[in-house]
Amino acid sequence: MRIAVEEKVLNENQRLALELRRRFQNHGVFCLNLISAPGSGKTSLLERTLEAMAPDARVAVLTGDIQTENDARRLAGAGFPVKQITTGGTCHLDAKMITKALADWDLSKIDVLFIENVGNLVCPASYDLGEDAKVVLLSVTEGEDKPLKYPGIFLKSELCVINKTDLLPYVQFDLAVARENARKVHPGIEFVEISCTARNGLEEWLAWVYRRQQKAIGAPTL
């Protein structure tokens, strides 16, 4: 006898993610989920982002890794709340880990929450963390065909940040082809080109974050 179940496999994650999204909305928290391969520059981008914030900015970071507290140490220097989530082998963050990590944080004191996912272009795409938007990072040393090889995450991300553009003279990476490949998967995806090392393009990134935040909290766009 066949019985219909018709539920998402990750039903429990989805339930917790919706709960997180509701909490974020209630407290006016704008949340971004940063996803990339290991070494594309998620932590560097966050370092530059935190540096650029006013000292009284209400910004916080959750950073995920399989092991080590290295990223949290790197990011804590800016003086904003930072918490490391070590997954102990799991290749992605899930909504339960986020819920647990936020347990002793007062969300009413946070305006922008960055979640740095575990370095991985595959699995994090499957797990909703209650974020307002996913952002995928691609560095020019990885090759411009990544969007074609890992379409899921490029489809689900609103913004593609292309990092390490200072290395463009030394690597075979065609920016136009990379953009075209990402658009083949997701025609509406937006782009920002940056170099965390040379500190290029960061204003554009911060402007995107600000615009997206305004949209999320329903402010009239300028």
Partner: protein, 118 residues
């Protein structure tokens, strides 16, 4: 490689459904996996097999229904199966289309063992 965790979630659901029905034996579980779900069907089947081995669920069959990406054209409302990579609307050529299916990761059904004949 999160397929083992996905397989675990599926098995947990099966155990729950069985417990809800006085421990009736479940013979098959059907899942829908979209090509954009980020789940590799081969790895999922492999993980599932490893998980049920030497357990009371060893004979449980996992049926995977692979789903293609489906786009809906915003201009002419045509719905069409697209490749993994986006393609424009085959009718009107519009690029303004939305992905409406292909990222499924659902448990569709379970099959229970037939009750013994009276």
């Amino acid at each position: 490689m999160h397929e083992l965790g996905i397989a675990e979630s599926i098995l947990e659901r099966v155990q729950y459904e069985s417990a809800q029905r006085n421990g009736v034996r479940i013979t098959k579980v059907g899942v829908r996996v979209g090509e954009l779900s980020g789940v590799d069907p081969g790895a999922l089947a492999f993980g599932f097999e490893a998980l049920v081995k030497d357990t009371p669920f060893e004979s449980l069959v996992l049926e995977i229904d692979l789903r293609k990406r489906v786009q809906r054209c915003a201009t002419c409302a045509r719905e069409y199966e697209s490749s993994l990579l986006f393609s424009a609307c085959p009718d009107c050529g519009s690029q303004d289309t939305r992905c409406i299916a292909g990222d499924e990761l659902d448990i569709a059904f379970i099959e229970l063992e037939d009750p013994p004949c009276e």
